[in-house]
């Protein structure tokens, strides 16, 4: 039972802090609590044994929690990132006018973000997913400029759309599950024979695809990460996005191979992987580049999951979680580096070197966690086309990251003198250390993986050559850098925004219809008409 209590406390403690904020004194010091809120989750990830299941009482919605290996891995890494983000945010919020509000949104997003990794029933999962999706609105909207307003509006609209897809998907899953069980495992087991199998799959892919930014549902990502303050961008890009990854891990039926859906995921995934790189190269804001890199990386993960779905085995899940953990730590570290760089302008090199390592780790730099991550997903990808595409995407990642580093370095030179902040540096260093070290600890827990493999010449060369080619390409592109197109953040978003007048006209049409219907003669005629219609409908047999 203690294990269950620890597990439950990982989301209850942050929520309890929110409740405590009703008191004036706690509220004033709420931002001081931010670094401590994820500690129970970290503890749970470390000590709660694999396979623990706990059912909460009805007053807590009867949520079922469980911890498995992928969940524990992601939970632990996410809580680390949230701690680092909390340290940074606490510093940022000192003397800030809107500190309390930011802290409230932060804690809400946090409890949702950690809860999704341990929820075992659909209602609980949906609850946490909603928390992490909708509460992030407040983190994005923090700065209250025109750009953040636009970003947060688009974000919340798409988040609501994703919620709607998932709600319908979960309802279909529940409808196909025999008995009253709402457990995810039961629902997914019943999916194979569900009469609504394909529409359920479509909704799952759309819903979670929106979260992980599968093209063309990625438009919110660059806008959001550019608009959010640095610690928020770090946790959103690192931890919150993984709600989509865990969603795919939990809800895709890996025990059976579903014809077609594996290909759909792979195509969407690889398209996103390359599209993210291509558009990312046309960006000038380092935050936007990191966002497009997320689009690319999550696309690759989706492709791996697609391969796993095709093979009809759960073998791909742990490698995917491992890859996601590395991405979470590295991406969080890179966002925090933007803050650390501003704080430590004097010693730019000290910030630049670890950042170079961290950035290239995303492309699989040898001796980093990135190399291990790439090794982990090698098996699920197989030897075919997918493997080749994955290697090409690694080249793309290297190229994109060099672009980021170029912008990053330029940014350090131009950065305005900011308040030097020890906390920013501590938080950043913590993530750099975690991103480089933690994968080495976790790697042996994967099936058939040992650290020694990473040091074979073959593996090292396999990890190194995409980066070398990426470097060569970067050198080539350097000559044309002034001629590269500049694409606004959110690329295809302009198509949607072009539809805005049409939507507005549609709304005006509704308003006119309402105006007509609300005239007395029309409404009273409607009464008479409806009486006749209802009588006819009653009289006619079905």
């Amino acid at each position: 039972m203690t294990a269950g209590t620890v597990l439950a406390s990982s989301f209850i403690v942050p929520l309890f802090m929110l409740v405590a904020a009703l008191g004036q004194r706690t509220r004033e010091r709420l931002s001081d609590l931010l670094p401590f809120a994820p500690l129970p989750a970290l503890l749970a990830a470390l000590v709660v044994p694999d396979g623990t299941i706990v059912v909460l009482p009805r007053s807590l919605l009867g949520i079922t929690l469980s911890l498995d290996k992928p969940g524990a891995m992601l939970l632990g890494a996410a809580s680390l990132l949230w701690i680092a983000g909390g340290i940074y945010a606490r510093q940022m919020l000192q003397d800030a006018a809107r500190a309390v509000r930011f802290a409230i949104w932060w804690l809400t997003t946090l409890s949702g973000s950690l809860g999704v990794f341990i929820a075992a029933d659909m209602i609980g999962f949906y609850f946490f997913y909603t928390l992490v999706s909708l509460a992030a609105y407040g983190l994005v909207a923090y700065d209250e400029t025109a750009a953040t307003r636009r970003a947060s509006t688009i974000y919340v609209a798409l988040a609501l759309l994703g919620e709607a897809f998932l709600l319908m998907a979960f309802v279909l899953l529940a409808a196909a599950t025999p008995g009253n069980s709402l457990l995810i495992s039961d629902a997914v087991a019943a999916l194979r024979s569900s009469p609504w199998r394909d529409i359920t799959m479509l909704l799952i892919v759309l819903g979670f695809g929106l979260k992980i930014g599968l093209v063309p549902l990625h438009v919110w990502m660059p806008l959001t990460y550019s608009a959010a303050p640095i610690p928020a961008a770090a946790v959103l890009s690192g931890a919150a996005v993984k709600a989509g990854v865990i969603g795919l891990i939990r809800f895709l039926p890996f025990d059976v191979s579903l014809a077609g859906w594996s290909e759909v995921l792979m195509v969407l995934g690889f398209v996103s992987a390359f599209y993210g790189v291509a558009i990312g190269l046309a960006q000038t804001n380092p935050k936007a580049v990191l966002a497009y890199s997320s689009v690319s990386q999550m696309g690759l993960l989706a492709a791996v999951l697609g391969m796993g779905l095709g093979s009809g085995s759960r073998a791909a899940l742990l490698p995917v979680a491992f890859y996601a953990v590395h991405h979470m730590l590295a991406k969080g570290g890179l966002f925090l580096a933007l803050g650390a760089a501003a704080a430590r302008r004097g010693s730019a090199l000290l910030v630049l070197v670890p950042t170079v390592v961290l950035a290239l780790a995303l492309a699989g730099l040898p001796f980093t966690g990135g190399q291990l991550a790439k090794m982990a997903i090698k098996d699920p990808l197989g030897d075919g086309v997918a493997s080749v595409l994955a290697q090409i995407s690694a080249i793309g990642s290297a190229l994109l990251m060099l672009h980021f580093l170029y912008l990053f370095r330029a940014g350090i030179a131009e950065a305005p003198a900011d308040r030097p902040s020890a906390a920013a540096v501590v938080a950043w260093l913590m993530m750099v250390f975690a991103a480089l070290a933690l994968p080495w600890f976790l790697f042996p827990t994967l099936d058939g993986a040992s650290r020694a493999d990473a040091f074979t010449l073959q593996e090292l060369w396999g990890a190194a050559w995409p980066i070398l080619i990426g470097g060569l390409l970067a050198a080539l592109l350097w000559r044309w850098r002034t001629r590269l197109p500049r694409i606004p953040e959110g690329d295809v978003l302009f198509i949607a925004e072009r539809c805005a007048p049409t939507v507005s006209r549609l709304g005006a049409a509704f308003e006119r219809a309402d105006g007509v219907l609300r005239q007395w003669p029309i409404a009273s005629m409607c009464v008479a008409l409806l009486v006749v219609l209802t009588a006819l409908a009653l009289a006619m047999p079905a």
């Binding site: 609501l160 709607a164 709600l167 409908a537």
Partner: protein, 498 residues
């Protein structure tokens, strides 16, 4: 069931008390002075709440309807009061909303100290008691004519609430409401007359045994249904609702939106699920569902386009009423015992109650904001969230329940409703439900974004806002959220007496 078996049950007296206690309140308010009337309310409200609670417990423990046969004259000659699962649930929700409204109205409808006695406070408290009594009579009535009388009492109590402040637009709105409701009443009465002509009784139990599909019955049923729709403001018969609900003072809007429109809906349920359970054809059920769908779409889009907060909430009510009407296509199998009809049935009641709590809370929050700022233009609400955090929390919680965010009664209702559409194979309603949730998310976040924004100059409050009234709004919003704990399955409680 034979007529002989209809007899007063052991707790039957509670039903009489539930109807008569607010009436006693009304009578006493004519006796005491205007200054005493609010003190009187402090007695009437809690006791009424206790009566509702006791009835709820009595019905739950007995596991069957509680009946009071008036004057021991059994139907069809006499009339009976009958409390089944849905009526006590309605009674309880009514009692909670009315009591909290009473707390909220304190201050707004108190006699000004020192000055001359005002009329509006006296009228308000009398109307509050009248609405309560009428609603209790409505949910307990077991014969179509009794229901008619209760409905009329409800309308007569509701209309003056709209124009309590006496402004010209509100009087116009009240008149419009009154006249349109009267069309509804007459149609209902005409239908009842036809039913009596065909079966010689208006008792709901007896009708359910005797009723059969013949032209007169069907015409009567459609007359009654459409008459009630006019009072429920289902699209396209919603012309009176936006000005009336937006124009009324906040406690009035809360009761009108939360309870009064639900009263006439309750009678529609009585007709189709109790009096004539076998007669609702597939097409007619689809027609009602389609009107509900139209209401959701029209109401939500119009809510998105409003510039004033109270009008936005009023249009949201139009949309939310629409969800209730999915009970007809989805729970139509209830009479024949189709298993998943119970899910749709439970969902609809959850929707009704959670909307009642959430909408009352929302109108109260809007009222406080309007009072504090002196206006309710959405574009100029920026920063008020910091001045009135509790009000904003009440608005946010009730709004999230309307959108269907877990945990909330709104989410549970939507979940079960969607489940029922899937089970019944009527996926087209699911599309509307999901779309309605999206649009609701749009207008709620539109307002929340404004409330949360912190412009450079925070607007000055024109009037102080009482903490008590803020907490009243919040407590109802919390009620809406707490309904989310309801188990996500067909509820036995709502089947008591069926």
């Amino acid at each position: 069931m034979s007529t002989a078996s209809v007899a007063t049950t052991s707790s039957g007296y509670l039903l009489v008390l539930a109807v008569m206690w607010p009436v006693i309140g009304i009578l006493l308010s004519f006796v005491v002075s205007g200054r005493q009337i609010e003190r009187l309310a402090w007695i009437v409200l809690p006791v009424g709440l206790v009566i509702a609670g006791a009835t709820l417990i009595a019905v739950t423990q007995a596991g069957q309807s509680q009946i009071y046969v008036v004057g021991n004259w059994a139907p069809p000659l006499g009339i009976a009061l009958r409390a089944d699962g849905i009526s006590v649930a309605m009674m309880m929700a009514t009692a909670i909303v009315i009591c909290v409204t009473g707390v909220f109205a304190h201050g707004e409808f108190s006699q000004p100290p020192g000055g001359p006695e005002e009329r509006a406070p006296v009228v308000f408290w009398v109307l509050l008691f009248a609405i309560w009594s009428a609603l209790n009579a409505l949910v307990l009535g077991s014969d179509l004519f009794n229901l008619y009388v209760a409905l009329e009492l409800l309308t007569f109590a509701a209309v003056p609430l709209v124009c309590l402040k006496g402004k010209k637009e509100t009087v116009e709105a009240a008149l419009r409401y009154m006249l349109f409701a009267l069309i509804g009443s007459v149609l209902y009465l005409l239908g009842a007359a036809m039913i009596y002509g065909a079966y010689g009784t208006l008792d709901i139990r007896l009708l359910s045994e005797r009723g059969h599909a013949e032209p007169a019955t069907l015409i009567a049923a459609s007359l009654m249904t459409i008459g009630l729709l006019a009072k429920t403001a289902l699209v396209p018969l919603h012309l009176w609702l936006p000005p009336a609900h937006a124009g009324a003072p906040a406690p009035g809007s809360a009761m009108l939106s939360a309870l009064v429109v639900k009263g006439s809906f309750f009678v529609i349920i009585r007709i189709w699920f109790d009096a004539m359970p076998d007669l609702l054809s597939f097409r007619a059920a689809q027609l009602l569902g389609a009107l509900g769908a139209a209401a959701i779409l029209l109401g939500s889009v119009l809510a998105l386009r409003q510039q004033r907060l109270k009008l936005l909430i009023a249009y949201s009510t139009i949309a939310q009423i629409g969800y209730l009407f999915f009970v007809f296509p989805l729970a139509a199998g209830l009479a024949t015992g189709v298993a998943w009809s119970g899910i749709a049935w439970t969902a609809s009641w959850l929707q009704l109650f959670s909307h009642a709590f959430a909408k009352a809370a929302m109108f109260m929050a809007a009222g406080l904001i309007a009072e504090a700022l002196g206006h309710d233009r959405i574009a100029e609400l920026g920063g008020i969230g910091r001045k009135l955090p509790i009000t904003m929390l009440a608005f946010a919680l009730s709004g999230l329940s309307l959108v269907g965010v877990p945990p909330s009664g709104g989410f549970s209702a939507k979940w079960l409703l969607l489940l029922a559409t899937v089970m019944e194979g009527q996926w087209w309603w699911a599309v509307v439900i999901v779309l309605g949730g999206l649009l609701a998310g749009g207008y709620i976040f539109m307002v929340l974004g404004r409330l949360l924004a912190s412009p450079t100059e925070v607007p000055a409050l024109q009037a102080p806002v009482s903490r008590w009234r803020e907490c009243a709004a919040l407590s109802l919003a919390i009620c809406a959220v707490l309904l989310g704990i309801w188990p996500l399955q067909s509820s036995d409680f709502l089947f008591i007496g069926r």
